[in-house]
């Protein structure tokens, strides 16, 4: 039987197939796909634009098939997907802000990234100079007896990224949370345009600091797809090694921070020590605590020596020795469980609708992990399990992380024991004609998607989609009916990226 993706693409010119097909479609087919998204037969992976075209990445989850469909919009309008399928709302608002292309029928026309501070409107489109004049942002209303608002941010109390949260509460109970993001918008996609590959990788590695490996990995993979470049085997294994170290460090940090937000600082203190161990090992093995700028298009910039191997192995041993006691403590502390169990429940249906990746999706029954679903090398040659739970509460998101730490430890050991000998990098050759590529890499937070078009050795257009785009809105849903005091706990258990989202 022909798959849904085949049906969508039937009779269309496939422009590129690196590695997934992209085709220009009619408005009619665009709306057909919108309906398939609503019906849950397809998932939305990304929605982005160019000055007079919109692109949508869609996935048939059962078959792990992906396609990119593009719609020409010479009059700068296209039929809104968000009108039918809410996950598209924020991407459509962002497209309007950056490119001036309007989604017809979009139910929420408020700007998203553009706070009217840039001195320019539609910076990636026609660039209209305007005077900066921050206008008040109309938050969604909530009315009723005794309902009051709490405004938080953009500067928060902790050492975290900036964003604004507007709570409407009735007594202690959150009636509505509305997020306003965009504060750390740096215009990265604008900086990408015209950059060479080296600078592109540097920028990609600075989209979200905690996912610097995942982003450099995804960007490099997309560029390699565009250039049809083969990466040496050793480099592939080293990339996965760094990706797992990054996952390990972040999950350890998160578990500690979640417990800290429940005022249980002991686990936080111990997890911080384990995390520091991973960072120090990374620094000794790869020359940088966060392993920044090590993954480059074509391969990796530096090798792992015997000394580095030993240090990583010693770090794994320490975690294996010390971590189980912390897990046991977490599981057996009633006061802590009281905070995390049944708190911030994300329903499975919502996780599926938003195609939520990472521990957020997997704690709510969505068994998607790009390492497994797409089995990109070297994960096709490695043994690992993808833990899935269905409770969807803070506790489930903690347990997914616990299980993933165990899986990452096992993965790193496999990689260390089978690290093949080969060159480290295939030098990219400049491509004269245009070439496109897309890649999806499983970061610690979820699937990072990068789409890139190269021309004459430079980046013409690059889109980087953080998993947070489809996770942030779910936090608004998960917090509803919880008490305000549990928000930090819920927020930390989601740990969405501000910088990765704001871009």
């Amino acid at each position: 039987m022909a798959s849904l993706i085949d049906h969508v693409l039937e009779g269309r010119d496939i422009l590129q197939r690196r590695p997934w097909p992209r085709a220009v479609v009619s408005a009619h087919l665009w709306q057909f796909v919108a309906n398939e998204l609503v019906q849950g037969r397809l998932s939305l992976l990304g929605l982005w634009a160019e000055p007079s075209m919109v692109h949508m990445a869609i996935m048939d989850e059962d078959r792990a098939e992906i396609a990119i469909i593009s719609l020409d919009c010479p009059d700068r309008t296209y039929p809104s997907i968000g009108r039918h399928h809410p996950p598209a709302l924020r991407p459509e608002r962002a497209i309007k802000d950056l490119f001036g292309i309007t989604a017809v029928g979009l139910p929420d026309p408020r700007p998203w990234l553009d706070h009217n501070n840039w001195g320019v409107h539609v910076p990636l489109g026609d660039r209209i100079d305007v005077s900066s004049n921050a206008a008040p942002y109309p938050f969604l209303p909530a009315t009723g007896d005794g309902v009051h608002q709490i405004a938080v941010g953009p500067v928060h109390a902790g050492i975290i990224e900036p964003g604004h949260f507007r709570f409407t509460a009735s007594g202690e109970t959150v009636v509505r949370l509305e997020q306003r993001l965009g504060y750390v918008h740096k215009g990265i996609e604008g900086l990408m345009a015209g950059a060479d590959l080296e600078r592109g990788a540097q920028l990609a590695g600075r989209v979200s600091g905690d996912s610097t490996v995942a982003y450099a990995f995804a960007f490099s993979k997309a560029a390699e797809a565009a250039l049809e470049l083969v990466v040496p085997e050793r480099a592939m294994f080293l990339r996965a090694l760094m990706a797992e170290l990054e996952r390990l460090a972040n999950h350890l940090g998160d578990i500690g921070a979640i417990c800290n937000d429940a005022s249980f600082t002991l686990i936080h203190a111990h997890c911080s020590v384990l995390r520091e161990g991973v960072l120090r090992a990374s620094a000794q093995a790869f020359g940088h605590r966060l392993m920044r700028d090590v993954i480059v298009p074509g391969g990796v910039a530096r090798d792992l020596g015997d000394e580095g191997k030993k240090i990583i192995q010693a770090t794994l041993d320490t975690i294996r020795r010390r971590f189980p006691a912390l897990v046991e403590l977490y599981d057996n502390t009633a006061s802590l469980q009281d905070r995390t169990v049944d708190t911030g429940v994300l329903k499975s249906a919502l996780a599926r609708q938003y195609a939520a990746g990472g521990y957020i999706g997997r704690a709510s029954g969505r068994a998607f992990d790009a390492r497994r679903t797409f089995a990109y090398p070297p994960y096709d040659a490695l043994q690992f399990e993808v833990p899935v739970l269905s409770e969807g509460d803070v506790n489930a998101r903690v347990w997914i992380r616990v299980r993933e730490i165990e899986q990452s430890l096992a993965l790193i050991e496999q990689i260390l024991s089978r690290l093949p000998a080969s060159a480290l990098r295939t030098k990219p050759r400049p491509l004269l004609e245009a070439g496109e590529g897309m890649a999806i890499v499983e970061g610690f937070r979820g699937d990072v998607l990068v789409w890139v078009r190269l021309r004459d050795g430079r980046i013409e257009r690059c889109h980087l989609r953080d998993p947070s785009w489809f996770q942030w809105p779910l936090l608004e849903a998960a917090i509803e009916g919880n008490i305000v005091a549990d928000f930090p706990l819920c927020n930390q258990s989601f740990n969405c990226s501000y910088s990765g989202h704001d871009l």
Partner: protein, 177 residues
Amino acid sequence: MRKLLFESLFRPALTEHAPSSDDAAVTELATAVGHAARRRLGRSLSIREVDAGSCNGCELEIHALNNAFYDVERFGLRFVASPRHADVLIVTGPVTKNMREALARTYDAVPNPKWVVAIGDCARDGGCFAGSYAVVGGVAEVVPVDLHIPGCPPTPNAMLKGLLALLEQADSAVVAP
């Protein structure tokens, strides 16, 4: 839990484990920071952190300052929740245009005398994001900066060194707010 706490009582403190020269340098530096902070501020220096547009890399390393290896609180360096409780504002990131006002307002909320430490390469001049339509540039474009600590991100060690330098500077001459 009792077992864990018990173990922690008998295990030597992590900060005193000094197997490599690297760790020894931390201890030496930490002692120096402690002395300077005590002289100047009677063992209390409250720090408020503001992310003005960073990628979050610097925040991760600022967090690390609080772990058992660096444990900045033992020198009286403390991260506080409100700018009104702070002596020092630590600012990261290229300042984005969307964060300019929030940064300026946070600075205004810090009582005098106050110092600003800009952390990371982006905080100097916008780093690799300089020139973007959405970026103002370095922190000094918005608030006066007393000290800049370079790095992408700077290591916790480098930050500790930087804070020491700030204390010494504050010691030798009162920095105008």
